[in-house]
């Protein structure tokens, strides 16, 4: 595309800003676990954006991949003694496998896809948390991998996953593959007639997005090191990722980062101490968003003719 080099420079600047920010922030702000969780949501919002923003398929059950990654990583740590980073990658691969199994859902459209994906995530949750699987997953009693507990190393790993996910979004924005995605998103039949292999493109995006969520889940499990199934399968995680991504603006690189960064900051500031106010503000914000900013915060930049990656 004509603007590829400018776009690439923009992408590098976004990645560098993220890296510098999350390396520097722990020096000035003491609560590393808040920063870690913020990165987790930025990465989840960005990972969800990969599939929703670039194909229009809204995965309500996105948390299923996250939880799968968390559990697969923990099970590998518990039973194989492999280096924890390999276990994290194993979490990504497990989510990829689930993505492959759920691939046929892409034949459904709109709400049917979203609901089927939601149901799938709940099935995974019930299987993992089942008493019968206690020897493997710990069942409802949760899983513990505190032998690898390493807050700083897992913080760094989450930053790497966030950068990777953002680089993927930039690739979807700027590459030849991304040109086909944009065409497919606007008119799948025309895109196919123009020569785009839409079935494959959609599947690739879906699997990439699933894998990323698995990696995020793996690092999250590593950071927590002790958790119950609810902690990594609660639907709230899907809802947060969706709202954060929409608030910033899907289909862009910076939108989900801005949305998750701002809303999570807001949540950390008042949501934990005074959840009732947070809920109220949060609800109002969603209504405001739907009414006035359907394309997210980035549309404010677009209106000012600023280039948005």
């Amino acid at each position: 595309m004509r603007n590829a080099t400018g776009g690439t420079r923009y992408a590098v600047a976004v990645l560098a800003t993220l890296a510098v920010a999350f390396v520097a922030l722990p020096q000035v702000y003491g609560n590393q676990s808040v920063l870690f969780t913020m990165m987790t949501y930025m990465a989840l919002a960005q990972g969800l954006n990969l599939v929703y923003g670039f194909t229009g398929y809204l995965p309500f059950g996105y948390v299923g991949f996250f939880g799968t990654g968390a559990y697969a990583c923990s099970i590998l740590v518990t039973f194989t003694g492999l280096p924890v980073l390999l276990c994290v990658i194993g979490g990504g691969l497990a989510a990829l496998l689930i993505g492959l199994i759920l691939g046929p859902l892409l034949r459904l459209s709109g709400a049917y896809f979203s609901i089927a994906n939601l149901a799938a995530s709940q099935i995974i949750y019930y299987v993992v948390s089942n008493e019968a699987l206690k020897p493997l997953t710990g069942g409802p009693y949760g899983i513990k991998i505190d032998q690898v507990f390493a807050p700083t190393a897992s913080y760094a790993a989450m930053l790497v996953v966030l950068l990777l996910t953002t680089a993927l979004a930039a690739y979807f924005r700027l590459s030849r593959f991304g040109l086909g995605l944009r065409a497919m998103h606007q008119n799948p039949i025309s895109a196919a007639v123009a020569g785009v292999n839409i079935v494959r493109a959609r599947l690739v995006v879906w699997l990439v997005s699933a894998t990323v969520a698995g990696l995020i889940g793996g690092v999250y499990a590593w950071n927590l090191s002790v958790f119950y199934p609810d902690a990594v399968f609660t639907l709230e995680i899907s809802v947060f990722a969706i709202v954060f991504a929409l608030f910033g603006g899907v289909g862009t690189v910076i939108g989900p980062l801005l949305g998750a960064g701002l809303l999570y900051t807001f949540y950390a500031a008042i949501g934990v101490s005074t959840p009732q106010y947070f809920q109220l503000l949060y609800g109002s914000l969603i209504v405001f968003l739907v009414l006035f900013l359907p394309n997210g915060l980035v549309s404010l930049l677009v209106r000012r003719k600023l280039h948005v990656l």
């Binding site: 040109l179 086909g180 606007q186 025309s190 895109a191 196919a192 007639v193 123009a194 292999n197 839409i198």
Partner: protein, 235 residues
Amino acid sequence: MSSEPLLRLENIEKRFGGLIVLHEQSFSVSAGEILGLVGPNGSGKTTTINVISGVLRANSGRILFEGKEIRNQPIFRIARLGINRSFQVPKCFRAMSARENIEVAATFGAHAPVDVDAILDEIGLLRHAGEPAGSLTVNQQKMLDLGRALATNPRLLLIDEIGAGLNPSELGAIAALLKSLAARGIALIVVEHLLEFLNRITDRVIVLGAGRMLFEGSLAEASRHPDVVAAFIGG
């Protein structure tokens, strides 16, 4: 030129549920030839184009392109083989610029590099290249739809009622363009209500009536054929 036709349909049948929309369609087109497809509304013209371009699957019969069966190929593969089409209602990528619309097809549908500017010029949209397709007029969108098809370097082009709504000078330009495409060796199937327009570019037409081929031959003969007259009058 080989004696083998570029495209051959053999006994193509298409049903929607219990409704048979194409009955045993068989015809062929050769490189550089323009075939007109006419018939009243609902007679199956668009369905014929949909079936050839892979947008719809035929229920039975064979579609041979250069002798190779393509009936069950996905749309994108048929496009890459060299068959492309325009839509009766243009389907552009509305949020993309006119140039990007062409670039998508040039990037994914063509085997050899494509001169995007030359195509924009040919369809009269070079001056509008940077504008979003959604902001173009309907007629410009029709031309863009044609340009998107041309950007895949097709050897067979299926045109669905491009003439509707064009003024006489635009019709003249499009007739000249279609003839020049045929002169380059592209085979064309042109669905058109405007018989006068069709008469200017070809003397071989197929008349469809309720999914059946009623007639094949020249337009002049068609207008004297009793089945054709009955179909158009609604007999």
